[in-house]
């Protein structure tokens, strides 16, 4: 027999489960003390169907989500909207075209946060970028690219060869 709090939190000898809607598990601590939060906002995806090189014209990269827990990622706009205040990890990795150069970046609320760059004479160049951002509810985040040359320079956008992800860490 367990201990019930208003019918939403249940403490038993096999662990603790929290759910206010009675359907979805919000947070659990199992019998070994392992904590999980299945409703944590999360997305991971890739560029798909965007051509051999893709830069979105300098706008938000339209990453196609493979997973979109919480529905915070919008495939059509390339924006993530934070549902709650917290610390969000963003990661991006892809191969960038050569010969060419450019500045892959992470943006928040329309402004640049961090960036890196490649300038490669030939062949593909691997790019990665990540950070953890403190956000308020309603903040928006996106991946993009600026100052690329030539105009066709960009990431491989057919499918695979890269990964983009965002998750609420805490």
């Amino acid at each position: 027999m367990g201990f019930d709090i208003e019918g939403v939190a249940t403490l038993t000898s096999s662990g603790t489960t929290l759910s206010l809607d009675g359907v979805n598990n919000w947070m659990s601590v199992n019998a070994n003390g392992i904590l999980t939060r299945p409703q944590t906002p999360f997305m991971s995806g890739q560029l798909s169907g965007k051509g051999n090189t893709y830069n979105a014209g300098g706008g938000a990269l339209l990453v196609t989500a493979d997973f979109n827990v919480g529905g915070c990622w919008n495939n059509a706009t390339g924006f993530w909207t934070c549902p709650v205040a917290g610390y969000y990890m963003m990661t991006m990795g892809n191969i960038a075209s050569g010969p060419g150069s450019g500045y892959p970046a992470i943006g928040k609320n329309g402004a640049n946060v961090h960036y890196t760059h490649w300038n490669h004479g030939a062949n593909w160049h691997y790019i990665s970028l990540s950070c953890v951002l403190q956000c308020a509810a309603g903040d928006t985040m996106f991946f993009y690219m600026f100052s690329y040359s030539p105009a066709t320079a960009g990431f491989y956008g057919v499918s695979g060869h890269g990964m983009y992800s965002i998750a609420l860490m805490a």
Binding site: I5, E6, V8, A9, L18, S19, L20, D21, N24, N25, W26, M27, L35, R37, P38, Q39, T40, P41, G70, P83, V84, A85, G86, Y87, M89, I106, N112, V113, H114, Y115, T116, H117, W118, N119, H125, Y126, I127, S128, L129, S130, C131, V132, L133, Q134, L168, M169, A170
Partner: protein, 179 residues
């Protein structure tokens, strides 16, 4: 009506979500906690730098536990900490005969190198790179990013050969308690 422990309401009506001290959930179960030990930051500057004793993360988006003068983060509690960085590195030039052509970057726990990577692209080329790792730490342990700190006892002399990492928001260094 909720349940109160020591003055903190830990369960509220569903529309308001749940608050467990600093851990709060909204009405659909998306939870976050604060404060959060860690940081995301960068070093201010205009050219590439070495940092064999600690990359001076002098500017931050947010931080708790970071010494911005020397880039050393001190873990406030025991736990697992994720750490990462991304940047461009100068490939160096003018190596004297017999000297190493590699530049190194590394994470150090309590001053000792735990993980390191290197770049080796000659004659002033910029190398995109970075790495990430998880650390098991005790309270009081320190985590640091080092640049041009060689894991070799003989040393590659990479500082004098103009190897280094580029500053400002052209790079990001981050660390976060994750569990």
């Amino acid at each position: 009506m909720g349940i109160d422990i020591g003055g903190n309401t830990i369960v509220r009506i569903p529309a308001s979500g749940v608050s467990l001290n600093t851990l709060a959930f909204n009405s659909i179960g998306q939870g976050s906690a604060s404060p959060a030990p860690g940081y995301t930051g960068w070093k201010a500057g205009t050219t590439y730098y070495a940092a064999p004793t600690g990359w001076e993360t002098t500017a931050t988006h947010w931080q708790s536990g970071l010494n911005v003068a020397n880039g050393i983060f001190t873990c406030p509690v025991a736990g697992y900490y994720a750490m990462g960085y991304n940047s461009i590195h100068n490939g160096g030039q003018g190596y004297p005969t017999g000297y190493n052509t590699y530049g190194y970057s590394a994470f150090a726990k309590n001053g000792a190198l735990d993980y390191y990577v290197h770049w080796n692209w000659p004659i002033g080329g910029w190398n995109t790179g970075g790495t990430a790792a998880l650390f098991s730490c005790a309270a009081g342990d320190t985590l640091t990013l080092l640049v041009n700190r060689s894991p070799l006892s003989t040393g590659p002399d990479s500082i004098s050969q103009n190897m280094g990492m580029y500053p400002n928001t052209h790079h990001a260094v981050w660390c976060k308690l994750v569990g």
